[in-house]
């Protein structure tokens, strides 16, 4: 019986995401009836909130709350608000969203409201919503609709469309990758999806519960996430030649793309301080609002809504005014004098090496309170997986010459050969991320930001030991100040340690959309760096 009902419910939720207004109406109608029926059957103010029907009701209420905020359709939002209110009038406690919008770092009012977006973003949101992907990540990326579209298309292709791996494998690999960085947000998201596509809940108890084949991937996951330069063809060989548990090349490529995608997405999630979605655990509360009700994390980071009220932000901005101008001046200088003083080759090499070593020494956040990881992600923290300290002194990262193995020439061809269409999608995504510009810097219009973007991109690759022969790494020192480097380094190498303070301390005059833009660059550069190492190892294996 319950199964039949739950199927109806699924259809109803789907109806709410329909582009057709009539079917949304109908679904809303049945949702109202269903809710009223249930609420009345439970009666006002249930004394035992732990009863299963009550907790089920709470879940549904949370979902309605989510709809009232996040649904791209105005009619549904309004009706959901109305519905919640009428349920509250009956005397049932209704939830309210926790935290301040989709991101802990960015004030909710700065982020695009689903109700106030241009037609293009609206249609992207609608599409994402109907596929069930309109999560907080997408909302934050909504600053850059052009990129968001490409991102969602790629992600949808990787997770849902034709590919060598079965659906539950894909989600499980996503969980593995996100768990590597203790990104509970992504882990939770994919645990749900994993169960929905029929994954075995036993696997979720830890990697030991998963099939041998997936366990073998753990090593690759670990290396890729923290020290991709250590990847050799023997790693690949051990995956491909494991008798009954061996991977095929196509499956491996798919897995590698998924792993890198989720490693870098974890970076983005932490880098932008993405909060749990409203309808998931930790995204809402039934407690009445009070001062003590702020998210633990906010307090831990020394940042709550309180601080904003005090107008700290304004004070800081005043302090550092002129930062943008200085940066622009430097860019101009670099542009002009690059022809005159030509550093010697030795000097260039030294600069790269210095940048590389320095990047390792850039201290990541010292033991600041990090977001408590959830049970699920702890399960994946196999003890042998211990985080390998990347910034240990004296460790030598070999140099990878991008001229010898580049994404455009080599990586693309390999991916496209083994996993058709994905090469194209990724290529598009990298290009959009790399070339995205609005020619603005903070309040200044008509600025050519290509130099800055290139510096950021190359700095990240530099941290992974990837060198561009034709780049003068001295530029990085000129353009990226220390607090920015700290942020980049933390976000790319140990994203779980990113804090709101770091986010705020770099580029203080810049707008949030620009900081999100930086995050996109970081994420894509990191993904490409990991991919390059992985694909090079696979190419070496093949030859």
């Amino acid at each position: 019986m319950s199964r039949g009902v739950s199927e109806d419910v699924v259809a109803m939720w789907e109806g709410l995401a329909s582009r057709d207004a009539a079917s949304r109406d109908a679904a809303m109608e049945s949702l109202q009836q269903e809710m009223m029926r249930r609420v009345e059957s439970i009666g006002p103010l249930p004394e035992t909130p732990c009863s299963s029907s009550a907790s089920h009701l709470n879940r549904v209420l949370a979902r309605i709350l989510m709809l009232s905020k996040r649904c791209p359709y105005g009619d549904v939002r309004e009706k959901c608000i109305w519905l919640l209110r009428s349920i509250q009038d009956i005397g049932v406690r209704i939830p309210r969203p926790l935290g301040n919008g989709p991101s802990r770092f960015i004030p909710e009012k700065e982020i695009l409201q689903v109700s106030k977006v241009d037609a293009r973003t609206q249609s992207i949101f609608e599409e994402a919503f109907s596929l069930g992907h309109l999560d907080n990540i997408s909302l934050v990326m909504g600053f850059h609709p052009q990129y968001l579209e490409s991102f969602l298309r790629t992600q949808h292709y990787l997770l849902q469309m034709d590919g060598p791996l079965s659906l539950h494998y894909r989600h499980y690999i996503g969980i593995m990758a996100a768990a590597r960085h203790q990104c509970s947000y992504l882990v939770n998201l994919h645990v749900n999806d994993f169960l929905q596509v029929g994954g075995d809940p036993k696997w979720l108890n830890g990697l030991e519960g998963a099939p041998q084949k997936l366990q073998a991937l753990g090593e690759l996951n670990k290396i890729l996430a923290h020290r991709p330069w250590l990847l050799t063809k023997t790693h690949i060989e051990s995956l491909l030649k494991a008798e009954e548990n061996s991977w095929s090349l196509a499956e491996l490529i798919h897995a590698v793309v998924l792993l890198t995608h989720y490693h870098s997405l974890a970076s983005f999630t932490f880098g932008c301080g993405i909060t749990p979605d409203i309808h998931t655990d930790g995204g809402h509360t039934f407690r009445p609002p009070s001062l003590s009700g702020y998210c633990v994390c906010d307090i831990a980071n020394g940042n709550g809504a309180l601080e904003e009220m005090l107008g700290n932000q304004q004070v800081r901005v005043a302090e550092v005014s002129g930062e943008v101008e200085v940066l622009m001046e430097r860019m101009k200088q670099l542009q002009e004098c690059r022809d005159e003083e030509e550093a010697s080759q030795e000097e260039m090499t030294t600069r790269f090496e210095r940048e590389k070593t320095e990047s390792m020494l850039v201290a990541t956040a010292e033991d600041e309170e990090c977001v408590p990881s959830r049970d699920v992600s702890r399960h994946f923290e196999d003890p042998s997986y211990g985080y390998q300290d990347f910034s240990r002194r004296g460790e030598h990262v070999p140099t990878f010459r991008v001229q010898d193995y580049s994404w455009e020439d080599h990586g693309f061809s390999l991916v496209n050969r083994l996993y058709p269409d994905v090469g194209q999608l990724l290529d598009e995504k990298f290009q959009i991320a790399y070339n995205l510009t609005y020619n603005t810097m903070a309040t200044h219009q008509g600025v050519d930001t290509s130099m800055l973007r290139r510096a950021i991109w190359n700095y990240i690759h530099c941290m992974f030991g990837i060198r561009y022969d034709d780049y003068d790494y001295g530029e990085i020192n000129e353009l990226l100040d220390r607090s920015f480097k700290v942020y980049i380094k933390t976000m790319v190498c140990s994203p779980e340690k990113t804090t709101k303070r770091m986010y705020e301390s770099f580029w203080r005059q810049f707008q949030h959309s620009e900081k999100v833009h930086v995050n996109l660059l970081l994420m894509e550069a990191r993904m490409q760096a990991e991919l390059l190492y992985a694909l090079r190892a696979i190419t070496r294996y093949m030859t």
Binding site: M1, Q345, F412, S413, R417, D470
Partner: protein, 772 residues
């Protein structure tokens, strides 16, 4: 293969030498005696001698060689034998003079490019002119007598991958770009390109001018294609296209062989191929020596087509001799086999294999063993193995088993939506029955019974069916609860069913010939009749309700039915006809179906508001079975008709796969309407979007002939109503039909009407319009 007389004296055998490091590019001097190899960590000159390569000079000097030595490309001047140029990965363009007395042969250093230089190219006839193309999107022309570039060409797009001076036109050069474009430039006009066209999707890695044919340009790209363009016409015209198996890194025309070119790949594939562009499906020759990707290929001498040099990432330098090349065509089987849409089979094979073979059936319409398109005059210049093949076509017989008539008829006549579920099933069952497909027909009937909605009794045309259609089918496993209700309902039911049975019998008498179909109804009439009792029989062990005794009439009836199918089989059938196999399968699958229907019917009396998801696993198996058998039509039709009842049981990918197969089949049979209906009714997002693509229709205003940009009926330029009906002079807001000859038209029905009585255009333009 005979030796060419004009070849220089160097040895002609395949040989190789180990380099110290991977090579990025190679180039030979004009007299083909020396070759330069350049790479990130190597820059050496080797002499080609009788017994192998001999290292002549190491240009990489200094204790800590700078990045200027890290070469992406190298070129030896074809007129000045002491002059070389390299493109460095750090953006430097360097020239080297071998005549310099000291160890360091570097002559000029140009550091004007901001990014990696991908290519350098000397002018073929002008001694001092050097061209470079870089990642920064610029091409620069250097005069070697000056310290800096004389002109800069901006491609206005992404990186330049290759630049090549034309062999024949003094001023022209071609540049290929990462975004897929190729540009032609005049060296005297640095302000803009002469011509640009898109040659490939994705980067164009290389291009090469034909050494003899003015205006022929070969390009190779990441999209795995080699294309030959004719530039002599106004628009660059693609005249040949060769599809390779990996991205094309280099392409070089073969000297003295007008149609031949050599290619190598950047990834995965290590071989060098020589293609005859007229025979694009199989390489003319292959060199398979390298163990890693080949990075540079060059023909040793501009008049010697037999010696090819290559450098590779595997740190070897090879001299390939043509006679040692492998010829893939020798190993290829010139055979082909293809099934036609209507079950015809065409088979082509080497003539020698086919002659004398008995039982071959020649193509019926005259001697068509060599159709025109296939027969090709041997071309002496081609040097390609000539193969004569014989083509045989086996036509399926008109009434043969592989005919697809049933498919078309079924597709046309099936109803998939627009009526109540039960009616759809009945209709489709009837269609299947008329097409003599009893198993399919029976399946439809069963589906109707299993899934009919009790709250919504359908009104089928057949009275007999209406009774069955009312059966509510519910799943509940509570046996205890049944008992009381059963006793009361039993009596009514039995009477109903008896009545039913009579109708059935009458019915059967009327359609004696269709026995195999009527039998299915019997089965269910029977099942319903004895529902409770049979149920208890099935579950004898658990069911404690002893009062359910078996009514006498149940058994005889059932046996009669089970025997039924074989008897009225049409006698004309051939043993291997599908009908027989169908009915075999049918009688086979009747048994499991039967028991299911029994269970289900027995449950009908309780909780009639529950959905019949109980059957879903069985139906899913059934659909899988049909799809496996190749009858994807049935699978998709059932999927659509059942809709939500079954959809969630089948995973999305399978559904999508079925839909795709069925739509593909429909389109092959040109059943566009049906295919569109299926697309519309499908619920997979990947399918429904199929008919959402390119739905925009661009129209021009009929008055001012400008494109209509706004959405209304009035052109915003001339402010008149566009699309006026030529007959009634009103604006057409629905279907608009127009003559493609004179572009007048109007309401569909008006134009039809008009053209019944007149041949001329209703607008009076004098055009003789036709309506078909």
């Amino acid at each position: 293969m005979e030796k060419m007389a004009c070849v220089s004296t160097v040895s002609s055998r395949t040989m190789f030498c180990h380099l110290d490091a991977p090579a990025n590019a190679i180039s030979v001097c004009r007299d083909a005696t020396q070759v330069v190899v350049a790479g990130r960590n190597i820059f050496k000159i080797y002499a080609m001698e009788e017994d192998g390569f001999v290292e002549r000079l190491n240009l990489r000097v200094g204790r800590k060689p700078s990045l200027n030595f890290s070469c992406a490309d190298v070129m030896w001047h074809q007129m000045e034998e002491n002059l070389l140029a390299t493109a460095a990965t750090n953006g430097a363009v360097v020239t080297w003079n071998l005549a310099r007395p000291c160890r360091n042969k570097q002559e000029h250093l140009f550091t004007e490019h901001k990014r990696t230089v991908n290519k350098v190219c000397f002018h073929p006839t002008e001694v001092h002119m050097l061209l470079s193309g870089s990642q920064d999107g610029f091409m620069k022309c250097f005069d070697l007598r000056k310290k800096e570039s004389v002109s800069t060409f901006s491609g206005q797009s992404e990186s330049v991958r290759d630049v090549q001076f034309s062999m024949k036109d003094y001023f022209t050069f071609a540049a290929s770009f990462e975004n897929g474009n190729v540009q032609l430039w005049d060296i005297r006009r640095p302000d803009r390109y002469e011509r640009m066209f898109t040659a490939h999707t994705g980067p164009v890695f290389c291009c090469d001018w034909h050494p003899e044919d003015r205006g022929w340009l070969a390009t190779g790209g990441r999209d795995k294609m080699v294309k030959v363009w004719d530039m002599t016409t106004n628009r660059a015209k693609e005249i040949y296209c060769v599809q390779t198996i990996a991205s094309v890194a280099r392409v070089k025309w073969r000297p003295e062989r007008r149609w031949h070119l050599a290619t190598c790949s950047m990834m995965v594939d290590h071989n060098i191929y020589v293609w005859d562009v007229r025979r694009p499906f199989i390489p003319f020759a292959t060199f398979e020596e390298h163990k890693d990707v080949t990075t540079g290929i060059v023909w040793s001498h501009q008049h010697d087509p037999y010696v090819l040099l290559s450098g590779s990432k595997d740190s070897t330098l090879y001299q390939h001799i043509f006679k040692d090349a492998s010829r893939p065509v020798d190993r290829a089987n010139p055979e082909g086999l293809c099934f036609g849409l209507f079950g015809d089979l065409a088979f082509a094979a080497k003539e020698s294999l086919m002659t004398g073979e008995a039982g071959r059936k020649p193509y019926p319409a005259g001697d068509r063993r060599y159709p025109i398109f296939f027969f090709k005059k041997p071309d002496v210049t081609e040097q390609f193995a000539q193969v004569a093949s014989a083509l045989s076509v086996f036509e399926s017989e008109a009434d043969g088993s592989s005919r697809m008539d049933w498919f078309i008829k079924t597709a046309r006549r099936y109803l998939l939506s627009g009526k109540p579920f039960a009616e759809l099933c009945d209709h489709n069952a009837k269609v299947a029955k008329e097409l003599n497909r009893p198993q399919v027909s029976t399946t439809w009937t069963m589906l109707r019974i299993m899934f009919s909605d009790p709250g919504n009794p359908a009104l089928p045309a057949n009275h007999n069916m209406s009774k069955l259609g009312n059966i509510p089918l519910m799943n509940s496993f509570n046996l205890k609860e049944m008992s009381s209700a059963l006793n009361e309902r039993n009596k009514e039911n039995r009477q109903d069913n008896l009545h039913n049975l009579e109708t059935n019998l009458n019915n059967d008498e009327n359609e004696e010939t269709e026995g195999s179909d009527g039998q299915a109804e019997y089965l269910f009439g029977d099942a319903e009749l004895d529902d409770d009792d049979l149920y208890s029989m099935e579950h004898e062990n658990q069911a404690e309700e002893a009062e359910f005794s078996l009514p006498q009439e149940a058994f005889p009836l059932r046996h009669e039915i089970v025997d039924h199918p074989s008897a009225p089989e049409p006698p004309a059938e051939k043993p291997e006809s599908p009908q027989v196999s169908g009915s075999e399968a049918e009688s086979f699958c009747l048994t499991p179906m039967e028991s299911i229907s029994l269970i289900s019917v027995s449950q009908l009396l309780y909780q009639p508001q529950l959905p019949p998801s109980f059957f879903c696993p069985v139906v899913r198996e059934m659909l899988d079975y049909y799809a496996e058998q190749g009858d994807v039509q049935m699978a998709v039709s059932v999927l659509i008709v059942l809709g939500d009842r079954i959809r969630k049981e089948i995973d999305e990918l399978t559904q999508e796969h079925w839909y795709m197969s069925y739509i593909d089949l429909l389109q092959r049979f040109e059943l566009w309407n049906v295919s569109n209906e299926v697309i519309k009714l499908s619920t997979c997002s990947a399918i429904t979007c199929l008919n959402q693509a390119s739905t925009t229709l661009h129209i021009n205003c009929s008055n001012c002939k400008r494109p209509m940009s706004n959405k209304g009926w009035i052109c915003d330029r001339c402010h008149q109503c566009a699309s006026v009906c030529a007959v009634c002079h009103h604006v057409v807001k629905g279907l608009f039909v127009w003559c493609q000859g004179c572009s007048h038209g109007g309401h569909l029905e008006h134009v039809m009407e008009w053209l019944k009585s007149s041949n001329h255009c209703p607008a009076g333009c004098g055009h003789l319009c036709e309506y078909t």
